[in-house]
Amino acid sequence: MKICVCVKHVPDPNLPVQVDLDTRRLVRDPAHCILDPGDEYGVETALRLVEAHGGEVVVVSMGPPAAEDALRRAMAMGADRAILVSDEALAGSDVLATARALAAAIRPEQPDLVLCATESTDAYTGLLPGALAALLDLPQLTFARTVAVEGNIVTVQRATETGYQLVQAALPALVTVTASVGEPRYPSFKGLMAAKRKPLITRGLAVLGVELREVGERGARERVLEVREVRQVKQGRIVVEDGTGSSIEEILAFLRSIQMV
């Protein structure tokens, strides 16, 4: 079974998010970018499936050259090889353009399964996987809590707002996973060393046969007009509890002032 896992190189979510107000893009300092923690679940799911059924795990990312880092990390976890879709013209791509670039890279691989996370940690539109499924003409099984493959059938427990649904499709298919699929493994030292030598190919748009007008800022249909800071610091009242219960009187007075008691 061949599995392609889409992984994104994102600003470390534990650091504050920065937006460049001039370029109107997120600041992605490569030194502070990591493999999206959500995508580790996709990699983990793929590794478990291949451990059970045999096959190959190919990780795919679209991003600047520094995104190689995310791919190496996924290979350190155990993925076999990587494809980086990288081209100056891709900067500023929206969901549709990103999906087109990833589809062009994945199509020739003819995978049995494409895995994505439900949403990325930085932009979290959650729209990429479905757009990709449409472009690859694959059925999409989403919000998976569990993923099982038997023969050529994939079965997924799809989380809903009130429980879950058991859904099924024939392979090839695209599946998006949630954090419930199981804890991602931590790369071993051996894995980290091996990852350095695993094959990684970089593909530009020309090689993929994607036309310029379909991708990047020129292909983006979603356009950012303006970014403004809204850091609202409420100049609220701060009181320090001094051990006499004084703060409780303050809270009561406040609750009274807003007619809560």
């Binding site: 109107r24 969901v95 979290y124 999409q140 799809r158 009130t162 879950y164 409420k234 809560m260």
Partner: protein
Amino acid sequence: MGERRVWVWTEIASDAPHRLSLELFTPARALGRAEAVVLGLTSEQALEQLGEFGAQLVHYAADPIYAQFLVEPHVATLTSLIESERPDLLLFPSTPTARDVLARLVGQLGRGAIANAVALDYDTSGRLLATVPCGADALATVTLEGPLPHLVQLRPKAYAAEAVGGQTEVCLVDLPVAETSCRVRVIETVEQSAAGPNLEEATVIVAGGRGLGRAENFRLLEELANTLGGAVGASRAVVDAGWVPYRYQVGQTGRTVKPTLYIACGISGAIQHVAGMRGSRYVIAINTDPDAPIFELADLGVVGDALTIVPKLTERIRAR
């Protein structure tokens, strides 16, 4: 140019319109003529209710197939409807199914879409303007280019649902669903106990974080919430620690809430938490660390130990 036609992707949950879909009729009415799209069997009452919230027309496909197979039949029908009816704008709520349908539509139609919008308008030249959060402290104004209809997904609570008391016409959609789009089959639907806080509807939320120390201490929050007629929420740190189930979680990857009063106890105020409670009318924060970021959005900040302050507060309110 006639009035803009604004379609609302309307999901039906236990035979009533989903509350997140109902919210979208408010901007739909403000921006043009509001119409609903309902794919799948539902009751007459549910359709009438859409009229009360401002839908002038419901495109209704009364076919059980939409519950038996996911996404592709919906996208196929929606694509045909868009081609024949030519709406200007489609609004999608932040539900799992709406997201699936919108995402596939983006690839299928080759159209851009805006996700996570918190406000929507047109400028005087008729250009669509959407406000979307961009990091913790910034809002972006974005637009869509290219052919109509424009596709936008809105965050929960971006708008309040308003019953305006109207009647709706129903237009039956009778499009056959091709077998080739029936690929993802629903084998079984399991409802799990819905017990737990109804955070979206609570006017008071008492939320707890890692600062509470242990799972058992959540009882203190339950008691305060009960005396105020509110619900209990939590940060992801304590959900991950297994102190309370996921449905308590407030934040970017949990619930978005807009209560009148939010009392944050032992919560540091990480951006991902704040993303889900920023819209609270009033915020009280109790935290031992005077530099905790949560104090930046508190109307009243109390530097102190939540474990001693909360029970005493409950006691005082009860004694009144």
